[in-house]
């Protein structure tokens, strides 16, 4: 047993000894690095270590949570004390109970890239500088790069529970991105380029820089489109944000509480046949992949939408008990500071057969949306009604035309899914809205508001 697993086990013992009927500890330790670059210089270099424990305590149907960074025996006792005290304040919930062991999780290989340690600070700084340089060299209209950023992390997680669920795993991940600035007649345009991998050796700094440059330069000369209803092609980065919202809507927690556009729609037709969605916690290419979820239940692959129908909801052990279903291994958390909640792992949209050019050709006339803004404020999570800021390119005669900005696209989530006419053949992993693999999507019709 690792030292981390031992600390988790000790925290569970402390809570049970302190009055909890059951307890579960989530312990994590991480080493992170970050490089920020601007103007050919390293702006900042960060090295960090983090370690903490989050503890759930159950007293009958009452559950409370305590967390902390002090992992000395005294510190762990204090965390246990906070969790037990929190449980005493909570109200009884007949479905609240510690998750039980559900067999051995599948082994997942390739979550950790040991080459990270072969890349000292100097080398990751060079990689980040190369990202910036690539953007500046790939298009003369790129005036500057606001920032190029590299981040990597090696994390170990150990979960222990008095009810048996648990486990331990290690992952590494890294990403780099930049915001390129292009000079146009009407001011500056920005473009985001990014890449993600298990280790720095697998990142392509030239491609990341070029993507940012292309996205910024293509917006030069942009204008507002006319308000109308038209066909829309969503770039994978944009489609990913909507798929992320869909993942939340498919969470059984939101559905059981009647706060999801998918509430009471299990088994019903919620999308066109062209849109197929899985939650896959075991996909080796996904960044949310792990053998177990955030409460120690094995991860798995779950069909959410197939043949247009909503097949399953995402469950953690609480919603499974409440809904008379099985956990789909969908407990997630943003670290030891928060209780687990139902959340998607990797959302994977099935690719279709047409290239992006094919989708644009099929759209004929319309708008190619390559960026959206305001998703945190422009979407009603209960009804799925949304109106968000967007920018992109006109589609004219089946090809990308003039750049467009300062408009909104509006619909509701289910209407949009039903209007998916085709999914593209080239999916991409996108880290916005969770971890999503998605191709471009052609939407039959959407309301566009501009001038």
């Amino acid at each position: 047993m690792s030292e981390l697993a031992e600390l988790a086990r000790r925290a569970v013992e402390q809570a049970v000894g302190g009055g909890a009927g059951d307890a579960e500890a989530y312990a994590s330790e991480a080493e992170n690095r970050e490089v920020r670059v601007h103007g050919g210089e390293v702006e900042s270099l960060t090295a960090a270590t983090q370690r903490g424990i989050g503890l759930r305590a159950w007293i009958g149907g009452r559950v409370g949570y305590g967390f902390g960074t002090d992992l000395s025996p005294r510190g762990i006792a204090a965390i246990a004390g906070r969790a037990v005290e929190a449980a005493r304040v909570a109200d009884e919930d007949e479905f609240a109970a510690a998750p039980e062991a559900r067999g051995e999780p599948d082994a997942v290989v390739g979550l950790s890239d040991p080459s990270r340690s072969d890349w000292p600070a100097r080398r990751i700084a060079e990689l980040t500088l190369a990202v910036e340089r690539s953007a500046l060299e790939s298009d003369r209209r790129i005036a500057a790069v606001e920032q190029a950023v590299y981040f990597d992390s090696a994390e170990r997680v150990a979960i222990a529970s008095s009810a048996g669920a648990g486990g331990e795993y290690e992952t590494t991940s890294c990403y780099a991105y930049l915001q390129a600035l292009a000079d146009g007649a009407n001011g500056r345009e920005t473009g985001l380029g990014f890449g993600l991998a298990r280790g720095p050796a697998a990142l392509d700094p030239v491609a990341i820089g070029r993507e940012g440059a292309e996205r910024a330069a293509e917006m030069i000369g942009s204008a507002k489109p006319k308000s109308r209803s038209c066909a829309v092609v969503l770039d994978p980065t944009v489609a990913a944000s909507f798929v992320g919202l869909l993942g939340r809507a498919a969470g059984a927690d939101a559905v059981q509480r009647g706060r999801s556009p998918l509430a009471a729609r299990l088994g019903e037709e919620v999308a066109s046949g062209a849109f197929e969605l899985h939650d896959d916690g075991l996909d080796p290419a996904g960044f949310a992949t792990a053998p177990i979820d955030a409460e120690g239940v094995p991860r798995r692959r779950t069909a959410l939408i197939e043949e247009g129908r909503l097949r399953t909801l995402l469950h953690d052990s609480y919603t499974a008990r409440r809904g008379g279903a099985a956990s789909t291994g969908s407990a997630g958390r943003s670290g030891y500071r928060s209780m687990p909640v139902v959340s998607a792992s990797n959302l994977v949209v099935a690719p279709g057969s047409q290239s992006l050019e094919g989708l644009l050709g099929e759209a004929g006339e319309g708008i190619y949306v390559n960026d959206v803004a305001g998703l945190h404020s422009g979407v009603n999570p209960v009804t799925g009604v949304f109106s968000v800021g967007a920018s992109g390119r006109a589609i004219r005669g089946g090809e990308r035309g003039e750049p467009l900005r300062e408009f909104t696209i509006a619909s509701d989530l289910v209407s949009m899914l039903r209007a998916v006419r085709a999914a593209g053949s080239e999916p991409r992993w996108v880290p916005f809205g969770g971890s999503v693999s998605v191709p471009p999507l052609l939407i039959e019709e959407m309301a566009v508001s501009g001038s």
Binding site: H38, E41, E43, S44, L45, T46, A47, A48, T49, Q50, G52, V63, G64, Y65, F67, G68, T69, D70, A83, E85, A86, A87, V89, A90, D91, E92, D93, A144, E146, G187, R188, E189, T190, K224, S227, R257, G258, R259, A373, G374, H376, S377, G378, N380, V385, F386, S387, V388, G389, S391, R405, E406, F407, T408, I409, A410, S411, A447, S449, S451
Partner: protein
């Protein structure tokens, strides 16, 4: 030493700073923090998600030749701090520099009457039950109510190689209420919050009124039609309406954006950017306000900074580094989410000063337009100036009168044009709380204004 208690001993700090500069550097700083808090929620009339935590740690940075070397660790033992100093210095290759001796300063933290940590947890649960009850009793069409409570205390201590040793003790409390109204297939939501840099005394005066307000918003929206589409005059309500100024101007005045050529306000200092009726401030000293602190997260005293003076742009918001780069004094805006983050220029409480127009007259002059009473939030790209706001309570204005509620409206526009198009500022004024995200860091900010009118703006809805 008031403010930072036993967080950072002067002798330890001097040793850590020496260690940080042992391989060179022009400046070193240690930021120590102890943070603790409690959050809980009520949903389905049941108290749940009771979470209580405590964290402590430190971040050490060394500046050398334009590069910041930063390391952070959990824990505040001298060995933890020295480990952070060594990590930060690890990539440096120069000769040792000496920090100056520390002079302790003791700024006065915002006064807290009743420490939330000393109020029984059960009392906080009761507060949530009051909110739940008030929302549910607002009407038969209220189908659901949720409410949340949060308290946080951050004790910070900052020492740097220029001899500064200072600290602050910050306590914030905030409650939020959300209601869902249902009529047949129609489902609408309403939300309201109340927060301050204060103690539990904030809840002395009818805190459950926010639940009634959230319920009223949800019920109002049941009668809403689609929001209009296209360009039109927009009247923005007071309080959180100030998030409009926060997004479309405040972020663009943060000096890091300006210095990187990523702000549309770059090079406009001294120029007219708005009509003379507009004056605006960032003020980190407003008593009890959500975005106030005694000092910023680099130890500089917070201050009131005039940003726009009768339409003329007069200041940017600076942290230590951006001020040095521009050769100006810091404005006390170097903020960070926690010891795990580097300080960057951030707003504190940002507001448009009250004007002289009566709110009724501001609406009365509009033939056909949109009235955005409050926003769900907003976002801006400071480099292009493009912004977007989600409206959570909006109405149509027809013939100078507010006629019907609208749902699902979004406002989009460009900062410079929209700021210059503000043609009325109301004489009513109040502040609201927000959580602002930038560079992956979230900090509490205040926003404020009275009613404000923008002569023309794009409203994106699904209607005609």
């Amino acid at each position: 030493m008031s403010g930072n208690g036993d967080l950072l001993d002067a002798a330890v700090a001097e040793r850590v700073l020496s260690r940080a500069l042992s391989r060179g550097g022009e400046f070193a700083e240690v930021f120590a923090e102890r943070r603790g808090g409690l959050t809980m929620a009520i949903d389905e009339s049941r108290i749940e998600s009771v979470q209580s935590g405590a964290e402590e740690g430190a971040g050490v940075r060394v500046l050398s030749g334009g590069t910041t070397y930063f390391a952070h660790v959990d824990g505040l033992e001298p060995a933890d701090l020295e480990r952070a100093a060594e990590e930060a210095a690890a990539a440096l290759r120069g000769g040792a520099a000496e920090p100056r001796p520390l002079r302790a300063e003791a700024p006065s933290p915002q006064p807290i009457e009743r420490r939330p940590g000393e109020v029984a947890t059960e009392r906080k649960a009761e507060l949530l039950r009051e909110l739940d009850e008030r929302a549910r009793s607002a009407g038969a069409e209220i189908a659901q109510a949720m409410a949340s409570y949060g308290e946080a205390r951050r004790q910070v201590a900052i020492a740097n190689s220029e001899g500064l040793l200072s600290g602050d003790d910050r306590t914030r409390v905030r409650i939020g209420a959300q209601a869902v109204a249902r009529r047949g297939d129609r489902v609408e939501t309403g939300a309201e919050t109340l927060g301050a840099h204060r103690g539990f005394e904030l809840f002395d005066d009818d805190p459950a009124a926010i639940a009634a307000a959230a319920a009223r918003k949800a019920l109002t929206l049941l009668d809403a039609g689609p929001a209009p589409t296209g360009s039109m005059p927009v009247v923005v309500g007071g309080g959180f309406g100030g998030v409009l100024f926060h997004e479309m101007t405040g972020h663009g005045l943060e000096a890091d954006h300006v210095q990187k050529g990523a702000s549309v306000y770059g090079g406009k200092l001294g120029e007219s950017v708005a009509r003379p009726l507009l004056t605006a401030y960032d003020d980190g000293r407003m008593p009890g306000e959500w975005g106030s602190d005694a000092i910023d997260d680099e130890g500089a005293p917070t201050q009131k900074t005039r940003l726009i003076d009768e339409g003329r742009l007069v200041a940017y918001l600076h942290d230590r580094q951006s001020a040095a780069r521009d050769g100006v004094a810091a404005t006390g805006n170097g903020r960070r989410e926690s010891f795990r983050h580097l300080p960057i220029p951030r707003m504190t409480n940002t507001y448009i000063a009250p004007g002289d127009a009566a709110p009724e007259a501001i609406i009365g002059d509009v033939e056909k337009g949109f009235y955005a009473v409050s926003f769900a939030g907003g976002q801006v790209d400071p480099a292009t100036g493009d912004f977007v706001f989600g409206v959570n309570e909006g109405y149509l204005i027809e013939g100078g009168a507010v006629t019907r509620p609208c749902r699902g409206a979004t406002l989009v526009g460009n900062c410079l044009q929209a700021l210059a198009a503000i043609d009325a500022v109301g004489d009513d004024f109040w502040m609201k709380t927000g959580i602002c995200g930038k560079g992956g860091q979230k900090v509490p900010v205040g926003t404020g204004q009275g009613h404000v009118r923008i002569a023309s703006m794009t409203v994106g809805g699904t209607g005609e």
